[in-house]
């Protein structure tokens, strides 16, 4: 797998969610609601013999609005739902990709991130991606 191509493909697919600004790498600044494809937690080589399969644990951070804002909770909820047009899991797992073979949205953790002095609620999605070790 080509890491840059994988990150680009994930961002492009997320960009099909209406109203969500997507970045294939961490930007210098962003305006919520936004999704940022960050660098892998782990990039595991040699899942099979002969460079057959590699595996990437890739984080995607979705930032929506202020922690104290009820509308932000509702909006983040739509991204975190297991299904629906705005569901990150549904949208990513229903895509077709050439940069890798398969993606599973494995889990979400929630955190508060500070952007320009404002605390935003954020969802940290962990993607389990598998693809060829030689292309």
């Amino acid at each position: 797998m080509n890491l840059a191509a994988v990150m680009d493909a994930i961002s492009a697919r997320l960009d099909t969610i209406a109203g969500l600004r997507c970045f294939p790498y961490p930007p210098a600044k962003l305006t919520p609601p936004a999704a940022v494809v960050s660098y892998p937690d782990t990039y595991t080589f040699d899942e099979t013999y002969g460079r057959g399969m590699d595996r990437i644990s890739l984080p995607v951070v979705v930032v929506v609005g202020k922690v104290s804002d009820r509308a932000a909770r509702d909006q983040l909820g739509a991204y975190c739902n297991g299904s629906g047009a705005s569901s990150v899991k549904q949208v990513l797992e229903s895509g077709t990709y050439t940069a890798f073979h398969a993606v599973r949205v494995a889990s979400i953790e929630f955190d508060v991130v500070s952007i320009a002095g404002v605390d935003y609620i954020a969802a940290l999605f962990t993607l389990d991606i598998a693809g060829s070790g030689t292309s």
Binding site: T48, Y49, R51, M53, A102, R104, A130
Partner: protein, 133 residues
């Protein structure tokens, strides 16, 4: 002497290279033993018997025509030639070749992981262990 990493292992079954879908394999050789102890002995005495062995492999399922399902499932219950190269392909590297009965092919589907497969073989007759040309 150097340690050798398993990632370079190559395994072909019936001429199909399944290495790219395989992440575990085991090849064992053993021999029967015969107890030939007679009176007057304080300890058992053994004589060697026939050789035997076992071979198994497994890995990650792939839905291509060269993947384990399309290759192995039709071969269950048949004799196939297994070639195992524990250090990979290269001149002078070791290779085991043997005829083998493919006894079982199993696919498992853990809900939070990729589909996996295993296959169990019963080697039959002589194992040819050589260095690759």
């Amino acid at each position: 002497m150097t340690f050798v990493h398993s990632k370079t292992t190559v395994i072909t079954v019936g001429g199909s290279d399944l290495s790219a879908f395989t992440n575990e394999s085991s090849f064992g050789r053993k021999a029967d033993k015969h107890d030939v102890t007679c009176y007057g002995k304080s300890d058992h005495v053994y004589a060697p018997g026939l050789g035997d062995g076992d071979f198994s492999m497994g890995g990650l399922y792939d839905n291509s025509v060269t993947g384990p399902r399309d290759v192995l499932e039709p071969l269950v219950g048949t004799m196939v030639t297994v070639i195992r190269k524990p250090e990979g392909t290269g001149s002078g590297l070791p290779q085991d070749s043997f005829s083998s009965l493919l006894e079982e092919y199993v696919e498992t589907s853990p809900v939070a992981d990729y589909v996996k497969w295993t296959a169990k073989f019963q080697p039959s007759d002589t194992v040819t262990s050589t260095n690759q040309a």
